[in-house]
Symmetry: C2
Subunit: 204 residues, 2 copies
């Protein structure tokens, strides 16, 4: 495209490097910023640089943190005997928003994917084993909940973690897979429906 | 949402002020930047601030420009007798990408919309009348092409411009409305199809 200004072109090129944003959307965003107060662009620019340069990762669970420990690990009210293993911070936020989990987390930072060249060594797995084997402070981990996506990569990672943690004797579980709440049986795919029959839950 | 870090929260809030970007997408973009090199965030940040603070508008056509005149007005090869009137820079880019127009432009900077409180005085209309009435330099405008969207606002603006420019005696036209090229007649809406019959073009 023949941009009217080199400055716009530079901005469009930079914005369109973000995931899911093409050149047309980038141009729309750039023109939007041009129409708004200069202050808005400055504060956007500062917020992303501050975030990038000052954010750190929790030394315990690898979640994003402002300080050494994340809000969750630093919270004395959380149940320290349970660790929920997730892929990234978005999963932590999703589970936190359910208000159903009061334990700690462990962020793997990715998922085992031979196709993308991501192996167990690229993930925060050793530190998870360490947390179970050599519990620091008041931690005495009794259960590991795997909250991984029900995909091939998720299943592979879950299988690897089970093998790796077997010797520690810690109790392990996975989040339930089945028909979504509010979902119509008729529209559930056959694999999900099949699994939900196999994993049926007995009434007490 | 309960963000893991205040820095992330600030960045998400700033990013989600952009049009069409909600909190979830903003979080995805923020986490993406966190995973990439610090340099990428810095150059994104610099590009948008540079664009916002250094971009100006062409004194002749109000298109975005790096200098006093935009690339198009400054180009001596463009036909200076024809002005195409558009709403914003995106329209200029869209028309330029067709390679079918060699004249100049005039960017209104908006469209008459009583609902949004935008009247003729808020748009670059006086300067358009000036360009026709008192042609500067080598300009001798002979035709004004209105390239406005076929909406109520577009039609209102076109009607206003026709009245405003009538006394100058300049030739005025509008871009053709009809069935899109490659479109199937069956799927054209009835208003477009109706107009395309009324505005039929005779074979020579």
């Amino acid at each position: 495209m023949n941009y009217p200004s080199r400055l716009i072109e530079d901005a469009v090129n930079e914005i369109s490097r973000l995931p899911g944003i093409g050149k047309k959307t980038a141009l729309r965003l750039a023109l939007h910023l041009l129409k708004r107060e200069e202050e808005q662009t400055r504060s956007l620019s500062e917020a992303i640089v501050n975030m990038r340069t000052k954010t750190t990762y929790c030394v315990k669970c690898h979640n994003i943190a402002d300080e050494m420990y994340c809000n969750i690990c630093a919270n004395p009210k959380r149940d320290r005997t349970t660790i929920c293993v997730v892929v990234d911070t978005r999963d932590v936020l999703a589970i936190e928003s359910t208000n159903q989990y009061k334990g700690l987390y462990h962020v793997l930072g990715g998922i085992i994917s031979p196709l993308e060249g991501i192996g167990p060594a690229d993930l925060n797995i050793d530190s998870l084993v360490n947390r179970v084997e050599k519990p620091a402070e008041e931690e005495g981990v009794q259960e590991i909940i795997l909250a991984l996506s029900p995909t091939m990569e998720g299943d592979t990672t879950a299988f690897y973690l089970q093998k790796k943690l077997k010797s520690t004797g810690v109790k392990m579980s996975t989040i339930a897979r089945g028909v979504p709440i509010g979902g119509d049986l008729e529209y559930a795919d056959e694999i999900t429906l099949g699994r939900s029959i196999i994993s049926r839950v007995a009434y007490d």
